[in-house]
């Protein structure tokens, strides 16, 4: 089955949105996971709730909240436009933002578990060998939580690829701009006679998901073996 130009556009856009969302939120997710796993501070419970909100709220509510905050008239959106000339609403970058927000809690959870599983005694040992805190983090903690980071990245990516509700609310479904795989499938299913075209996209999205899952399984297994010392 050869892809049509439109299909290629949709898949490419979906991948671009998902990859951007995952890569940009990963460092923040690691930082927040570290805060939640390792630090005690005022407002920690609040941060924890805020991080998990997109997981429990109806996606359409999250999408609307994004629209309110990051829309042209939104508090942050207006500032972004005035200062940097950046518009997010109804752009692919907005789709990436929506995907990142929706995937964020999943990433944080997986990475946080990784942090909690790290043997702190190894970090102590590194410090006695003269390693400053940042070096301990880079050379010991981060490699040891790499399975958690990988798992979180895969979850975040999968969520970003499949994200629909918040995306369509925040950036709609504009072909070539914000029409990702799920929104394209949804749009096709709304049109009489669109089923066969939708089925092609559905098969495509299944293929991409299975490939991503297989690759991530292999990577996670390799990382887990590596940090077990075997």
């Amino acid at each position: 089955m050869s892809l049509t130009a439109a299909e290629i556009t949709i898949v490419a856009l979906s991948l671009k949105v998902a990859v951007t969302a995952t890569l940009l939120s990963l460092p923040i997710a690691i930082f927040v996971a570290w805060l939640l796993a390792r630090c005690t501070f005022k407002g920690k419970a609040l941060l924890n709730i805020a991080v998990h909100l997109p997981l429990v709220l109806p996606p359409v509510v999250t999408g609307y909240a994004l629209l309110l905050l990051f829309g042209k008239q939104g508090a942050i959106g207006a500032m972004l436009f005035d200062v940097f000339g950046i518009t997010l609403a109804f752009r692919w970058s907005g789709a990436a933002l929506a995907a990142a927000v929706m995937g964020f809690p999943l990433m944080v959870r997986a990475i946080r578990l990784g942090f909690e599983a790290v043997d702190r005694k190894l970090e102590e040992a590194a410090a006695t060998l003269g390693a400053p805190r940042m070096a301990v983090f880079w050379h010991v903690t981060l490699p040891l939580i790499s399975p958690g980071i990988l798992a979180g990245t895969v979850l975040g990516f999968a969520k970003a690829m499949g994200e629909f509700g918040a995306t369509i609310t925040f950036v709609a479904s504009i072909p070539g701009q914000t029409e990702t795989l799920p929104s394209a499938i949804y749009t096709l299913l709304q049109v009489p006679g669109g089923e066969s075209a939708a089925l092609r996209l559905i098969l495509l999205s299944v293929a991409i998901s299975i490939a991503a899952l297989a690759i991530s399984e292999a990577l996670v297994r390799r990382a887990a073996t590596r940090v077990s010392g075997a």
Partner: protein, 371 residues
Amino acid sequence: MKLEVDIQCQLGAFALDARMSAAVGTTVLFGRSGSGKTTLINMIAGLQTPQGGRITLDDTVLFDSTQKVNQPVHRRRIGYVFQDARLFPHLSVARNLDFGARFAVDGPLGATRRSDLIEVLGIGALLNRRTAALSGGEKQRVALGRALLSNPRLLLLDEPLAALDLERKEEILPYLEQLRAQGGPPMIYVTHDMSEIVRLADTLVIVRDGNCAVQGVAEDVLADPENVKLIGVQDAGSLLQGVIESHAQDGLSAIRLSAGLLHVPRVDASIGRQVRMRVRAQDVILSLSAPVGLSSQNALEAVVTGIHVGTGPGVAVALRSGSDRLIARVTGRALTQMQLQIGQKIWAIVKANALPPAAIARASSSRHSSA
């Protein structure tokens, strides 16, 4: 090198109030589990923070509660060999060894000393291995090498042999002896195993209930009958110096002491070699006259120098035999019947089998110069 520790800390129901000092050579912290030994060295390393007091290493203040000084662990340059090795599982043996080198203040130890160390520790064949595949003894040797390659000013060892069986211990003890003899970094060695003391200790600190109850030259601490109860009646015993005199055909070796010969099961040391051995107080029998018709070969003429009557039925008797000191543990009844008095001449009988090879250490020639 001079380490001075005077720290206080309340940890739940446990109170630590420890004053100790350590200099060149090996300082052994001896005490039962739960006595606070590990907490104490963790505070020296900076892994735990005392509530009050002061820790100095030469002219560096590591911790001072009044001056609000608390140097972070990585700046203290104090190596630490943990009981559980704590090798980094994501790194190979070689990269574990070299972990500390990039942070060494005076630069890495240098390729020659690195390869020497690897050679001596016998870990050359392991360099490319992953850590999970190593045996307990191998892990501990790598951990020791890793700590030494970070070029520490002081090396802390927290019961590094406790998790190993006797054979594996023998993989590491000789190396620690050699390190001590060849002027490696000063060591603070935590143990609850007396047999390691004869091999390693220059200074002995007895830790009890969070206090450094007694400290001093290992020979002196162990020869003091007052300390018998503190050390534990099973473990109490003194250290004797001797020279290997001969090896007999019947499997015994003779060791020349300052006041006689001691016949012990075959010792693996060449004739003329200086040795140090531990004679447990409960293995010494006292006799008022020169023993005849006894199976024991070892009778040393001695003088009673001290008698310590405790609360229990046992009595610790301190003896001097030539320049060596012995402790004997006898019953209170024997003390009365024998009418033992300070200054009295007496014979101390030691069973040959009370001195297994593990209780005899080849003394390092440099020990006295470094003390």
